[in-house]
């Protein structure tokens, strides 16, 4: 199923290409029919090009590579700190951690510029950090404090930073995809040279919002890169139990949209695949669907155990053997870009930053309750009543 890493949809009028594409589909049919279980990691990455270390590094500056490492480490230690604070009752509500998936957002967001936009669903703390929202502002938001990036009104699932072009933070599965389509439309409308990356989990692919958005994005060739983070489980439902077709990237074919698979445990593969999509979008080539194959090492949310009814402890332990941080650290050590000692120093640094973010959140005041009615409407100076609870 993974023979072709990048699928360029054939234009309908190109008969030869269309025929070829049909033949290709027939080749695949029997294979698809017998596909009952999710491919294991070897199968999922079997078609990843066999690149040398040098090729994997793509000529990136050592400084940028070290920054990627720093960002992944910070993501990991920050989320560990979040888990600790949640256990202590400092953080409330639903809280979804990114541990295991760090390479996806870090690699992909490094492939665009701060002028570009990012939007995602509710497993979002790391996307916010990667866009430059400070760890203190993210942690304070988790604590529900006034210095949080949404002033305490959003929480874990609704972080925003307009100045950093970080557009949230959305809680309805798949609901962010049409929104991102609108941002991409705006970019085209105003003839800007920007792009938007929008993320969703694999389970969102079954929502109508996904399909409606892909169709319009391809129809109007807007600069949107849709990254599906396939961590194999929508809460506790394995992807193969939820979709008649395992390979998400193939869904793009229905919309004549280019698509690709990326190894979501390899930050440099994420960077490479996303960069190609970003460059194409910026050049007016329209949207791309990227399926990032990844895994979460933690439960769906803080109330979900790491393993249990839908996956075994052994499954998770096996996947932890592919820790994206370890994979990248080994490469950087082999290439003399970052030694083990430097890595440990970096780890101490990000632990300190995470601790400080918690201290900052702890000291930040609770939002004033009399701000309950602020920031609901932009234009409140209207005749008549906007609120009907009789309290004001």
């Amino acid at each position: 199923m993974l023979k072709k890493r990048t699928h360029e949809a054939a234009p309908a009028e190109d008969t030869a290409a269309a025929t070829e594409s049909v033949a290709h589909a027939e080749d695949q049919a029997p294979e698809a029919a017998v596909q009952e279980a999710a491919p294991d990691r070897e199968a999922m990455t079997a078609e990843k090009p066999a690149l040398s270390d040098e090729e994997r590094l793509q000529g990136l500056e050592p400084e940028k590579l070290r920054k990627m490492m720093y960002d992944m480490l910070l993501a990991r230690r920050f989320e560990e700190k979040v888990a600790e604070a949640y256990a202590l009752g400092k953080i409330g509500g639903f809280c979804h951690l990114y541990i295991g998936q760090e390479a996806v957002a870090v690699g992909a967001i490094h492939a665009q510029t701060p002028d570009d936009y990012v939007m995602t669903a509710y497993r979002e703390h790391v996307h916010a950090l990667q866009c430059g929202v400070t760890p203190g502002a993210v942690m304070a938001e988790l604590y529900g404090r006034a210095d949080g990036c949404s002033k305490g009104k959003g929480g874990s699932m609704h972080m925003f930073d307009a100045e950093k072009n970080y557009l949230g933070g959305h809680g309805i599965v798949g609901g962010q995809i049409p929104l991102a389509l609108g941002v991409a439309w705006k970019i085209k409308y105003r003839q800007e040279e920007r792009v938007i990356q929008v993320y969703c989990g694999e389970a969102a692919v079954n929502q109508g919002a996904f399909h409606e958005s892909l169709n319009m994005a391809a129809l109007w060739k807007v600069p949107m890169i849709l990254i599906v983070e396939n961590n194999r489980f929508g809460m506790g439902t394995a992807w193969e139990r939820a979709s008649s077709l395992y390979d998400i990237y193939q869904k793009a074919t229905a919309y004549a949209m280019p698509s690709a698979v990326a190894d979501g445990m390899d930050v440099l593969d994420m960077y490479r695949v996303t960069k190609e999509a970003v460059d194409r979008a910026r050049a007016g080539g329209g949207p791309t669907l990227i399926e990032a194959r990844t895994y979460r090492f933690v439960g769906h949310s803080m109330s979900d155990p790491v393993s249990g009814v839908y996956r075994t402890k052994e499954d998770v332990e096996k996947e932890k053997g592919n820790d994206p941080i370890r994979i990248f650290a080994d490469l950087l050590a082999r290439q003399n870009i970052l030694s083990q000692e430097e890595l440990e120093q970096m780890d101490e640094e990000v632990k300190r930053v995470s601790e400080e973010s918690a201290d900052f959140a702890e000291k930040s005041p609770e939002p004033a309750v009399d701000e309950l009615y602020t920031e609901i409407y932009a234009t409140e100076d209207v005749n008549g009543r906007l609120y009907f609870d009789g309290r004001r």
Binding site: Y117, C149, S150, K153, G169, L179, L181, A209, N383, G384
Partner: protein, 326 residues
């Protein structure tokens, strides 16, 4: 003032606002090449081009969400639903995204988007095409809702909606598009949101209503006059914000109230207004507040049944007589 139709008034509002602000664009099904399912956008594609008058696939959730995303990054979409019945598919984006974006981001985003389309029953369109949904939409804090009942109100309120920095839902009357009336030609003719209009002054009883139902109320008032009853008709024009001062003033004036809406009784705007009146003007009342609404059933197709289900002039007269103890 020129006498034009409700449809032409809406068309003028769109054309003037698009002329005034290059960030305003119109998007929806059949708005371009087809000139609009109800011809509201007639001629706009020719005038403004296909980036600003955009025909969409039939994909309400998708293009409503597109509008919300575009609005949060600074442009001013006008999203047309062929009817509000079809917008039910898009309610996730109106209620979960447009209504909440400003609040859940701590005030970082404006949401200058207008959603518009016809509401209410036309003739024999049956259950799925005959719903008046404005009360349901007004339920959500974060949105604004206007319901113009005349050509002038249609123009002034749509222009105000487009210029507003919050999501405004405009509920047009499907049966009103051909209605003619005087409409100011001034490019800056605006009817501010939240300002009710006394469509008929009176002293004996207040009929409070909105949208297409103002015409039912006015007909009822004309017949009541023959029986020596002087009814006041207050047109809310806007449900959220709601002109509660105007409501309380008419209650204080006549002491008797009949509330009229096209939609269903349960949770309708009339229920909210009845609660408001008993909370804040109880001492002014000389009779219980009564309501006239649609029958609490999905709209049937058969002509006589449909007629029976809709609020009528007779029902309004009956309730007026009741509050007057006649």
């Amino acid at each position: 003032m020129a006498v034009i139709t409700y449809r032409e008034a809406l068309n003028q509002a769109l054309a003037e606002e698009m002329e005034r602000d290059p960030d305003v664009f119109l998007m929806g099904e059949e708005v371009g090449v087809y000139n609009g399912a109800y011809k509201v956008s007639k001629g706009l594609l020719e005038k403004f081009g296909e980036m600003r008058v955009v025909d969409t696939p039939i994909t309400e959730l998708g293009f409503a969400g597109l509008g919300v995303g575009a609005a949060m990054t600074g442009v001013r979409p006008v999203i047309e639903f062929m009817t509000w019945n079809f917008a039910i598919l898009a309610f996730d984006q109106i209620f979960n995204s447009a209504a909440k974006m400003r609040s859940m981001s701590g005030g970082q985003f404006k949401m200058p988007i207008t959603f518009r389309g016809p509401t209410g029953a036309a003739l024999q369109l049956a259950a799925q095409h005959s719903q008046a949904l404005e009360s349901q939409v007004a339920h959500y804090p974060g949105v604004k809702v206007v319901v113009p009942g005349t050509p002038a109100d249609a123009k002034g309120l749509l222009k105000a909606a487009i210029r507003d920095d919050d999501p405004v839902c405009v509920f047009e009357g499907e049966m009103l598009y051909n209605l003619k009336g005087e409409v100011p030609e001034d490019d800056d003719f605006i009817i501010p949101l939240g300002v009710a209009d006394l469509k008929r002054p009176g002293s004996d009883v207040s009929i409070i209503t909105h949208g297409k139902m103002i015409h039912v109320a006015l007909q009822a008032a004309a017949q009541l006059e023959k029986n020596g009853i002087d009814a006041e008709v207050l047109d809310l024009r806007s449900l959220r914000p709601l002109d509660t001062d105007a409501i309380l003033a008419t209650v204080a004036k006549t002491n008797r109230v009949v509330l009229l809406e096209e939609g269903w009784a349960f949770g309708g705007i009339t229920a909210t207004i009845a609660a408001l009146i008993q909370e804040e003007a109880f001492d002014h009342l000389d009779a219980p507040v009564l309501r006239v609404t649609q029958a609490d059933v999905p709209m049937p197709y058969a002509k006589a049944m449909e007629r029976a289900a809709k609020p009528s002039v007779e029902m309004v007269i009956q309730k007026v007589n009741q509050v007057l103890y006649r």
